[in-house]
Symmetry: D2
Subunit: 459 residues, 4 copies
């Protein structure tokens, strides 16, 4: 479909003899953050074992999960854009290096990856994958520091961009967020059966819920947590590696995160609902029904309905079965592809003025097809309301966005977009409305990256 995509989910579990299974459940809960490949690395104190492959979590770990024995594990889900996919690009990446063994999983995107890679290559490094992540292992391996923590800190100072990392050595687990905190990473704890505690870090807290972990706090921007056993006791230490200059990805609230997650210590559901409420305040439209594009527009549509008093109806049904569908080569497929996923309730829509809520418009082609289908279903007037501002610029911080030339709002006015998608009216949430949805402290968008809306790139 025609959407922006979060590139990855990461998870780390420390001090649990169920560490690999807990990573597995967490990756399953975060499947929406990467469906192309998945992997888990587990340390038993002596060796790190990795199981990874292409496909959904249930398929990658169909056989062999029982071989991942050890009390510390990290895991990764990956979204890959076409053409880049290769078996060697699946994470975690594992390497033997001067301090022993290391595995690494990365959510984000390094903006100076090519520059670092070129420098490393010119110094004699070899790269076997297309992953930014390989840079970091090289930097760590080439550091002269004697402790891994110092090597990591030293290496991080060479890279720029968006990253949340989990590192697994044979005895420790490290979790780090970049100084801007672009990508989320939360800390939780789990009661072990023997009374001790295990720790978990994960991109989204929906992973915590599934495994009965308690949310403790977010890892801070620029912070590194080091999990280790000291004198037989498991604990973690915090190092504020970089001064925090928060630029949290505001799009997590709009689309990426599951609504049942807490992201940046905020309830995603509430924010999405607030967006609908703000939209209803900004655009008072007369209509018979409020209808979400499922699943992305559902929560905002509830908010819009509650604020406006216009009834909420589940007017478009989504077919949740996934997998590459056969399309006859002779058929024009654009509408068919949308229909394979979405189908309107004609009886509801016929002869009605409807407000349709979606999260964002990327290329505009899907919105155009949805409106076409709704018109065929008999809608009289169709007002498309988008629960985010216009996306006018790509993301360089770990989100898979199309080239700017394919971002319809980058080159077209709202009126031109409306005309293209053939809506009766088209409205976007204002940036201020978005801030209000997030809450007081987000006034003026401080602390958030919103470069896709205003082109203010921090790096």
């Amino acid at each position: 479909m025609d959407s922006w995509n979060e590139k990855c989910a990461i998870v780390g579990v420390f001090n649990s003899n169920r560490s690999a299974a807990l990573c597995y459940y967490s990756l399953f809960a975060m499947q929406h953050r990467g469906q192309e490949s998945s992997g888990i690395s587990t340390s038993n104190g002596y060796d790190i074992t990795t199981l990874k492959g292409e496909g959904l979590v249930t398929s990658v770990f169909k056989y062999g999960l029982e071989k991942l024995v050890g009390d510390a594990s990290i895991g990764h889900n990956r979204y890959s854009t076409a053409g880049e996919d290769s078996k060697c690009d699946v994470q975690p990446i594992f390497a033997r290096y001067s301090l022993g063994q290391i595995a690494l999983a990365h959510n984000g995107n390094l903006v100076n990856a090519e520059e670092v890679r070129d420098r490393l290559i010119s110094q004699g490094a070899i790269f076997q994958s297309h992953l930014d992540t390989e840079n970091l292992i090289h930097l760590i391996a080439q550091s002269k520091a004697t402790k891994l923590r110092d090597r990591i800190i030293e290496s991080l100072s060479c890279i720029k961009g968006a990253y949340s990392f989990v590192f697994l050595s044979r005895g420790k687990l490290f979790a780090i967020r970049d100084p801007y905190g672009f990508r989320p990473l939360s800390l939780g704890e789990i009661n072990n059966e023997d009374g001790s505690k295990a720790y978990i870090v994960a991109s989204e807290t929906c992973a915590f819920d599934l495994i009965n972990a308690r949310y403790i706090r977010d890892i801070n921007p620029g912070e590194m947590l080091i999990f280790s056993h000291e004198n037989g006791v498991c604990s973690y230490e915090s190092i504020q590696v970089f001064k925090a200059e928060p630029k949290k990805c505001i799009f997590e609230f709009i689309y990426f995160a599951r609504p049942d997650s807490f992201v940046f210590n905020k309830c995603v559901y509430e924010i999405r609902k607030n967006m609908g409420i703000e939209l209803a305040k900004e655009y008072k439209i007369k209509a018979d029904l409020v209808i979400p594009v499922p699943d992305s527009g559902v929560i905002s549509a509830i908010g819009y309905s509650q604020e406006s008093g216009i009834p909420f109806e589940f007017g478009i049904v989504r077919n949740h079965y996934i997998g590459r569908t056969f399309i006859e080569p002779t058929q024009s497929s654009r509408e068919l592809k949308v229909r394979l996923k979405l189908n309107p309730i004609k009886e509801l829509i016929k002869d009605k003025d409807i407000i349709v809520i979606d999260d964002s418009i990327v290329r505009g082609t899907t919105s155009k097809q949805i409106i076409r289908i709704l018109r065929k279903a008999g809608a009289k007037k169709i007002h498309l309301i988008i629960a985010s501002p216009q996306t006018i610029s790509p993301c360089y911080y770990g989100v898979d966005t199309p080239d700017i030339s394919h971002l319809i709002s980058a080159t077209k006015s709202i009126e031109e977009v409306r005309d293209f998608i053939n809506a009766d009216s088209l409205h976007f949430l204002s940036l201020d409305g978005l801030y209000r949805s997030i809450g007081d402290e987000a006034k003026d968008g401080e602390g958030y990256c919103k470069a896709c809306f205003d082109k203010q790139y921090i790096i």
Copy 2:
């Protein structure tokens, strides 16, 4: 999960050179009616070719769909209960017989299947599958009539039970519903590129929407449609084989059908919403929120909210990724299994009195876990409201229901069930409320089978 399951979906397409592809899309749209196996048989006028296998539609037809060349096809999705699954039980069933070749797909359940089978066997027939459907092919093959239509009619008079059938011979396609019309079957038409018309019959009209077919009407209870080419023109003929005594499965409205389908010529979405409205009239409960169990309770919850004025919230999020999930053998898995699918929005639920809407209670175990999870999420009071009457008796007409001993409402009072699942209150839709939801003509439930609620079995 803990639900009743429709056993099958069927589809037939006649007079389209895209007949197999149209069946494929239709089966994809009806994937919810059978995820165990799938198959399509296509006739090119001389021979019938079948492609079938175990798995989801996208996987069964991953390779080879292009070999199904011909302008008439039938297809089938199947839900199978454990233990019965065998490669030879996948439909359509194909056979060579005295009039040539025939393929057959069946949605339903024959109540006298064993009796007919025993009689056929005692007369020398052999059975290679566990399918009721095999009976019918034998009856047709043993008939002395010279025309297939007469053989089918003769054979149908020997069988009792719930059935919607599609038959494919080399030149014709037959679609039949039993005299009670237990299972749905609708007729639609499609414009071919050359201006001619193709016909489609399918269990649910959501299949029509996907392929741009127009709904014409339902096949009547006891009616047979015969699609053929006469003098180069494609047309269909109707024969009322049996007097119609409608006993349409009322559970299609409650759970089986997709909400965007028309079933028994009624909009499923509207009926489900009406159920919520009726529930709100029957049970006026003070609460902060109305929350559906997704996806089964969503539409009724919208109705309940609109009628009661209590805000609707999507308070439980569903993980739609399917596939057999690894469960550690050492963990008690019941709650985990529910958590793998459902997760509450704690921020919404905490300290709230909530009304939870679901479609039905079968064993009660899932409801118990959902309530447990909601309590952990901080709900103060939990009122479970079920958008159907108590299911007190199994179905013998094509629905996979557990043994009566596992139907919690068969042996326990509402109060006992409430106690078991640990809800603060528990309410079921009344039968009259259900009739009102369906509409005027359903007064007293006439025309519908509701044996699962009242044990009034017609056969």
Copy 3:
């Protein structure tokens, strides 16, 4: 490759709690008699369970063999010609019928199969596969006799052709050869761990060797063995159903059987070696070396070398790795296909006059390529000697032979064939030489079917 192929192997094991495993090993030993599909049916006394599928024995039974629990089993390997392959055509065939359950595996070919099938179909039977074997189950099912043995006997009297059958009912196992004994079937016994005896019947005795079974005797042409438990004791009974008129397939000695098997109570290796000896007596050729086409010509070449005194050399090496090999669409593939399998030892062959021994010539195309390759390798003179008479007519008794128009010897003289394949000389074993190779009692070929050489078809 360009050869005649035996269509099947069958096996049955009775009174062993390892019955399915013993069938599995036996089918593995007889893999050369059918590589397309494989299956085993096992009875536990109450139910018959079948595991079957397409592929080699090791792949079909990779998972699930442990589910075949019971002390009686039958198994089947199948060779299928292109176009006929379908999942439903894999044996054993299983059916429920008036006496309970039956499974059936068949090696051979019924000459009146179509006639019987047409009659059965006209009487109302349905056929779900393309297998001759389905006929027999119908005949048994339609019989009025009260005992299975009588039904089998009655049914066999309706069919004509070549067959060795194993039948499995819930409590008994039946093994039958046709009155002519076209296809082999041997009886053996195995010591169980508890001191009791298990019985095995198999197409070739190489199966016995693998599982340490002792050869007892061949089932006679026209004989049926019935294995059962009487008063807790396992025994078998013999019924001479038809008068034996032996017409044993002489080609088993020439090509089909493994050389380590006893077939028709004769050692295949010895007969093949005798053929080489007879050839050396019939054709005294001056040459430097005797070279077999591996593996089919190896044993006869040893005999030829011993009798003639010309040294035997393994001058052509065979690549035993199988599997469909990628061939570039742009390359002429005939020579490549032969080269993928066979490669000469140039150093041996260069400037030598060589005698090449093969078992038979079918189309002639492979022989032509082999000679071409040998000439490229530097052979001076190439004398091709065939360890069988000219095959001038197809087989209708269970062997996959090409249409007569593709049998090069059917239409061409020896000199014309020699010219086509470009040999310096070409010789075939005489029919008398073949009889002498088999032994005294085969004088005049009595007791053997040799219709492929002399067109004397018995039925």
Copy 4:
């Protein structure tokens, strides 16, 4: 089975638009040199594309071979010992480095791999696989030389051990043998359709035969060939990087190579036959038959028979179907495993004194089972004659040998071994006999590595 195994086959093709297909056929011909995994890398001048995976050649390249477009390719077959197998260990290895892109395939074993790896690691390199080969890419990447050829030469001077390498850069192909020439590597040429020539290097010449390539010569020990296009003309240049001190692996003649290959410019078949002749001179034994253990003992047995006059018989038949066979957990499997592969011709062996010829004895367990089976088949006396000296020490140069404690001849006298395997007599070829078999210039074994027989390790 119980044998020594060559670890790998390599191939490189330059200046053919069929380069990937020619590599594919070559790897198929050399399948015996590595059945665990396979891979091909192809350069189109701009980019190198790799297709590799676990399994046999036909399965790894079942899909996708057509994507390997380019006129230069290298390929690799791999034998891996248990426990080491990992998807990342499959060759060719590919890397981006300071001069662009490189792919590398390796046959052999570096004796200082760990030392080099440790040094590289201490200097900051990371290792993602268990392969020795990864060392070399690092050394090349870290070199300061500006030309790849100089980097390769510089890197080779750091490594010790047995190696034949093929390197593919975007524009060139390099083929190198170590100074001792442990592992074979031959050069051939192929006529392209346009009249130009393509070049091939491969471990064994059987690859040349399959694709109609002409053998030119062996790459010399210590020599590097560089294939390139200069002014549009394809040519190759030779650099004698190291002084040749030939220590060619003598075991290639005994077991590893296919008999139809030329290895070290000698015909393997002839040498193996000579071994049999030498054995017959060394051990004059009275017996009725000479029987090879197939396939390893066949050629030597022919030689023994010709020299001794004792008739050669193919007295043990081998089942060539491969794949992991199911073994019942309850059965003692050692004899069964041998029986699954080998079966004697009882009729030949019964009451005979037989000479059995095999290539070598490793653990002795297989020989013991073979003799056991032959005794059961009725052999009176069994003389086991081995066509090689006693293997008393492991190989460190690219051959998979068991730990010395499992080499039966390392700790037991010939008499003790004879007793263990229960032969009537046991004889090994003398080292001198082995030299004589190879030919005049091998007098005293000069130019050959025979450390497995005499512990004289060169490095």
